[in-house]
Symmetry: none
Subunit: 229 residues, 2 copies
Amino acid sequence: MTRRFEQKLGAVDIAALVRREISKGNLQLHDRLPPERVLADTYGAARGTIRKALTLLEEEGFVEIRPGSGTYVVHQPDEASVAPIDNATPLELMDARFALEPHICRLSVLHGRRTDFDRMESLCSRMEDCVNDPVGFSDADTDFHRALADSTRNGLLIWILDQIATVRSQDDWTRMRHLTLDARTISTYNAQHRQILNALRTREPERAANIMKEHLETARLSLTRASET
Amino acid sequence: MTRRFEQKLGAVDIAALVRREISKGNLQLHDRLPPERVLADTYGAARGTIRKALTLLEEEGFVEIRPGSGTYVVHQPDEASVAPIDNATPLELMDARFALEPHICRLSVLHGRRTDFDRMESLCSRMEDCVNDPVGFSDADTDFHRALADSTRNGLLIWILDQIATVRSQDDWTRMRHLTLDARTISTYNAQHRQILNALRTREPERAANIMKEHLETARLSLTRASET
DNA sequence: CCATATTGGTACAATATTGGTTCTTACCTG
DNA sequence: CAGGTAAGAACCAATATTGTACCAATATGG
């Protein structure tokens, strides 16, 4: 945007601004930047300065300069922005779930339909058949939480949860936890799932959210316990 | 931002515009584009330029040119790249923020540092200077919520919020809201931001979370109000 | 089926735009 | 002062755009 500061902008500053526009999405792949002379005017800098900034960005691989034609964006910001999600720690992951899932329960009460709850019901049964099958339980558990998200009818939230689930499946700690899931823990989870489902069916948003918090707290405990061994 | 229309459009620019129309869904599969001569008129370019743009799009597989007949859209917008996230409605977006941001406040109380809060403080000041500058306010507001997320030190949550912010910036309703932001609404927001910051500084997680909920409720109201006009 | 309108395909020369380069002047910092 | 950086201007070379005219393929309507 137009910085109203009368401060003099150097080549690196301008490079940073343009770089940010690209990462931010205001300038997308294949977009052509304004001509150097126009940029010079809008940023209040000399053409040489703009030129230096653009050269920097070209060396960084953000941009391609084609003589006689223009300067073009050559950067899929996805790579950079998808990266952090792969490095998420299990604790970060738990915090994210703590943020999302209780509220998802509330939304599920608002938007959920009978068929959603029936599906979750059948998943509960499946999980209850897996008291001695940690892997099978984990799969059903993932499906349960996914079904819960689905019942909100909120595509954005579903997408976010899916992203998280992806991380979760690639996560070593969590994988380790699967092995440490004993019958007693699984039973606890199952009871909590049932309670959540009941609260959804009776349309009690806060109760559902609270049980979900408990549920996540239990999960967090078993996570930290597993990481200590 | 606004200068896109004042600038003369080249073939690549037009290609980018049409490509975006297709990805966005405004132009759907098998739709026929207007004749080149009409496009030339609407985009204010010569026919040769339009022609070059369409040829580019044909090479990319977005479009098929049939001599004597017309130019047709041939593109199933990639499920992967378009993602549900681009089609998120403002209401879905608000629900996602309702889920995330109050809990982010709690985490900020846990992990936030002095410098984080100082940064948010300066952003508050910046916003307070923008009572009559909706666009400037919106920028600062985005930065504030980003800074809040940063203070949790949770890369995953920060990433999620960034994704949401990206959607938000490309969202027409929200853009419209910028225009309807009056001085009074901005003042309300400013007061709420200050309150949140204070609660963070005094390490009161629940109070911060609750004010954030209020804040989002206010935002949701002004959103629905704007959409009714 | 044919006449006509519409649409894309092509060619070419004049003009405009854009990045590439160089030079001079001015300013600031160590 | 010396050295680096930026402003500003002038000019060059590469590329793009324009405007026009005419051709070929397809669609439309009697």
